[in-house]
């Protein structure tokens, strides 16, 4: 494999892996802050126990999110130096701002939260977790600003003399419409991820009749958060689809395996593609539904891949501008499917109050932990693969972004190194998460600085 392919695999592996932990961090920080605030307001001991128990799982997860984020910060320079030179004038600023505004905030106040139980007043202590939560959300905002620019590049011009893209309007970067649908989508999915984890772990204990009061309260808390999160994901995802069809029509066409223009267009449920002949040999659709999703009406035309390919060739020159349709189509479909399953679980949990005693429901909720992780990974795989061959949509191809001086041997070295270490750390993390999740609140309880090292 050449350095380009390897660098892409490395980016994919390290990023998907990083994003196992990030949504848990974002969602849990918020939910733990809510729980601690409930304790400060009501003084009910159960909320303090919930804060500490779920807080401990939060901390085990947080560590891996942070350390895998360091790789993300430097990987652009290591494997993608041409990309960095080309886009650094725009792309670097949000990364630097993320560090200054978000990383300092979350790391400093998390240190205060872990070690400050006896040194800070209860109100101030709860405030530190709110600041951690704000830090994680700001971090998501700035890195998504950078990603949204890759999906929908705005506020720049190409400087031919310098051979790079240069910033013309910071305001346009911040008001990028791709950002304002992507950001809520990610934040709601993070909330849903943490919520599904809480609901699932609580279900595990309820199946064993451990601490019924503690865990049925936790399960209800998780179910409410899961409903808010998964509904938010669906609505923001719908808006995101409408922006996508406008700024990245090719990605939407690939997601739907839509080869030719259709008016009105149907939403495909199951298709078997015939990529060589640019058609589907088999396709089950809901008539007019794609027009409805994309344009909120039953009549609009949705462009197909053949048409967009011809347009892009006319604009950018000969080449293949169609991404991997199989991956785009199935990752998009499965992501949405898993998302709807999350909504169903949350609704089922909340509509029938006796559910927290139903063994069938509790088993389902336990398996439900996996849903947001699958949906999150598929979502990123879809949005990044669906943008290919571009790194920056319509501006810079992925193939032109790789480091020219870094040999495939070097990329192999770092890829094997990171993958092995990430694998070992994943095993350790799962071991610790399960150990503390199963141990229950007493293990995580205790007084004083029990969360210290």
């Amino acid at each position: 494999m050449g350095a380009l392919t390897l660098a892409r695999w490395q980016f994919g592996i390290t990023t998907v892996y990083h994003f196992f932990f990030v949504p848990v961090t974002i969602g849990m920080a918020l939910l733990v802050a809510v729980l601690e605030t409930a304790y400060v307001r009501t003084k009910k001991p159960v909320y303090l126990r919930m804060t500490k128990f779920w807080g401990k799982l939060f901390l085990i997860n947080f560590a891996l999110g942070v350390v895998t984020g360091i790789v993300q910060e430097f990987q652009f320079g290591m494997n993608w130096s041409s990309y960095s030179r080309f886009v650094g004038d725009i792309f670097g600023a949000p990364l630097a701002i993320e560090g200054l505004l978000a990383f300092f905030l979350e790391s400093t106040f998390l240190g205060l939260w872990i070690f400050g139980w006896e040194k800070l007043s209860p109100r101030l202590h709860a405030a530190t977790m709110w600041l951690v939560s704000i830090g994680t959300i700001l971090s998501a905002f700035w890195i998504l600003l950078a990603n949204a620019w890759m999906q929908n590049p705005v506020g720049f011009e190409y400087n031919a003399e310098a051979g790079r893209a240069e910033l013309t309007s910071f305001l346009e970067l911040v008001s990028n419409k791709a950002l304002w649908v992507e950001f809520p989508h990610v934040i709601f999915s993070a909330l849903a991820t943490a919520a599904a984890l809480i609901l699932g772990v609580a279900a595990w204990h309820l199946l064993r009749s451990n601490e019924k009061e503690f865990f049925s309260l936790s399960a209800k808390f998780g179910a409410v958060a899961l409903l808010v999160g998964s509904l938010g994901v669906a609505f923001s995802g719908h808006l995101q689809g409408q922006v996508m069809v406008e700024v990245q029509p090719m990605k939407m066409a690939a997601a739907e395996a839509l080869w030719q223009n259709e008016q009105p267009a149907g939403f495909s449920l199951f298709a078997i593609g015939d990529v060589q002949n640019s058609r589907n040999s088999f396709n089950v659709t809901i008539p007019k539904a794609l027009s409805l999703l994309a344009y909120n009406n039953l009549t609009s035309e949705v462009k197909g891949m053949a048409d967009i390919q011809a347009q892009e060739e006319a604009t950018y020159g000969a080449g293949n501008y169609i991404p991997n349709v199989f991956i785009a189509y199935w990752s998009f479909r499965l992501m949405i499917g898993f998302g709807f399953l999350m909504i169903a679980i949350a609704l089922w949990a909340l509509v029938r109050t006796r559910n927290m005693e139903s063994r069938r429901f509790l088993k389902l909720a336990l398996w439900g932990i996996s849903l947001p992780f699958l949906a999150n990974s598929l979502g990123w795989i879809f949005t990044e693969i669906g943008r290919q061959p571009w790194a920056v949509n319509g501006v810079l191809k992925t193939a032109d972004g790789v480091s020219p001086t870094v040999s495939s041997g070097l990329v192999w070295t770092s890829m094997i190194g990171f993958t092995v270490i990430y694998g070992v750390l994943a095993a350790i993390e799962v071991y610790l998460m399960m150990k503390y999740a199963k141990a229950g609140p007493d293990e995580a309880d205790g007084s004083g600085p029990s969360l210290a090292y």
Binding site: F74, A96, I97
Partner: protein
């Protein structure tokens, strides 16, 4: 092109220098504490005292590196691209070290089995030692100059980075950070750990002095080719370092810590002034060197970044300073002995 000192390019060069200074001052001592972990503690309680002395702050200290990296990307994309694709393997090793080290701090206490804790202790040791050594190697190479071609690409290999001057730089940073950490430990702990850390500092003071002397003389003689003459800075550094063992002997540990801190500040500042206006001098041809002007982002980006930095840097400094105030007390065995885990 604009020239002279009064421009945003030079301001951002200075700010990035300040970020590295802050990073090495702060993470310097927590690297040192990690390196000393196996040597200043006799049992698990001791080791927990050592680790908890930096527990609330090490992660915040590390963010200085991430912001330095991000700021370099934003303000000098060419520098970021050339440096990190060129110094590929050392950077990979540093990243691996920082990954396993960060996880070790969090996970060590999460299981009481001695074998588990013992393994994480070695991870903390290696994860602290490798970056403490390699940052010195990397910065010495930047000052020395590396092969950079006309396209601003790194044209050397891994072995170009392993030269005597860079190795002296690495050993000097390793010794200096370890000393800095020993002094931090003897300021922040009580009892046996404090005693042992002070003992280490007294002996290590001389080693660090000799290595710093060698590194600074070599830098001054061979590589201070920039526009700014470092003047008396190296002499001040050596004077500060020379008094550290004496201060430690007199139990003036606070002063000694201040002096190793100043040594780090002045040495890093000295390296950056020796570079200016280059950011990465080329050893092939001076015309290929990356400078604060040819490696920089556009004026617009520098302006935006300046506004953001002016607003938020003071806030960050305030709350990070406040953390150190909250956790200003020394830690001893009795603080941890009451707990079972």
């Amino acid at each position: 092109m604009e020239q002279g000192i009064w421009n945003l390019n030079t301001l951002w060069f200075t700010l990035i220098a300040v970020l590295w200074v802050g990073y090495f001052f702060l993470e310097g001592f927590d690297f040192g504490v990690g390196i000393l972990l196996p040597f200043v503690s006799k049992d698990d309680v001791d080791r927990r005292v050592v680790i908890n002395s930096i527990g609330p702050v090490w992660d915040g200290n590390e963010v200085w590196l991430l912001v330095a990296g991000g700021a370099t990307f934003a303000a000098f994309p060419e520098w970021y691209a050339t440096l990190f694709s060129g110094f590929y393997l050392p950077l990979f090793l540093i990243l691996v070290a920082l990954i396993i080290r960060g996880v070790a701090f969090e996970y060590r206490s999460k299981d009481a089995r001695p074998g588990w804790r013992n393994r994480w202790d070695w991870v903390i040791f290696i994860g602290s030692l490798v970056p403490a050594l390699l940052w010195g190697v990397a910065f010495a190479n930047i000052v020395r100059g590396v092969p950079i071609d006309a396209a601003h690409e790194y044209a050397g290999g891994f072995w170009n980075l392993l030269n005597p001057y860079a190795l002296i730089g690495g050993l000097a940073s390793l010794a200096l950070f370890t000393l800095h950490g020993a002094l931090f430990l003897s300021l922040k702990t009580r009892g046996d750990v404090e005693e042992r850390a002070r003992g280490v500092a007294r002996n290590l003071g001389w080693v660090a002095l000799v290595l710093m002397l060698a590194f600074l003389l070599w830098t001054y003689a061979a590589h201070a080719s920039g526009e700014v003459v470092p003047g008396v800075v190296p002499i001040v550094v050596l004077a500060l370092m020379g008094t550290v063992p004496w201060l430690v002997g007199k139990k003036l540990v606070g002063w000694a810590f201040l002096f190793t801190g100043l040594t780090i500040v002045l040495t890093v500042a000295n390296m950056f002034t020796a570079l200016y206006p280059n950011v990465m001098p080329s050893s092939l041809d001076a015309a290929n060197s990356l400078t604060v002007f040819n490696a920089s982002a556009s004026h617009m980006t520098l302006k935006v970044m300046t506004i953001v930095a002016i607003i938020f840097t003071p806030i960050v400094l305030l709350y990070q300073g406040w953390t150190y105030w909250v956790f200003r007390k020394r830690i001893g065995r009795e603080d941890l002995a009451a707990q079972s885990h």
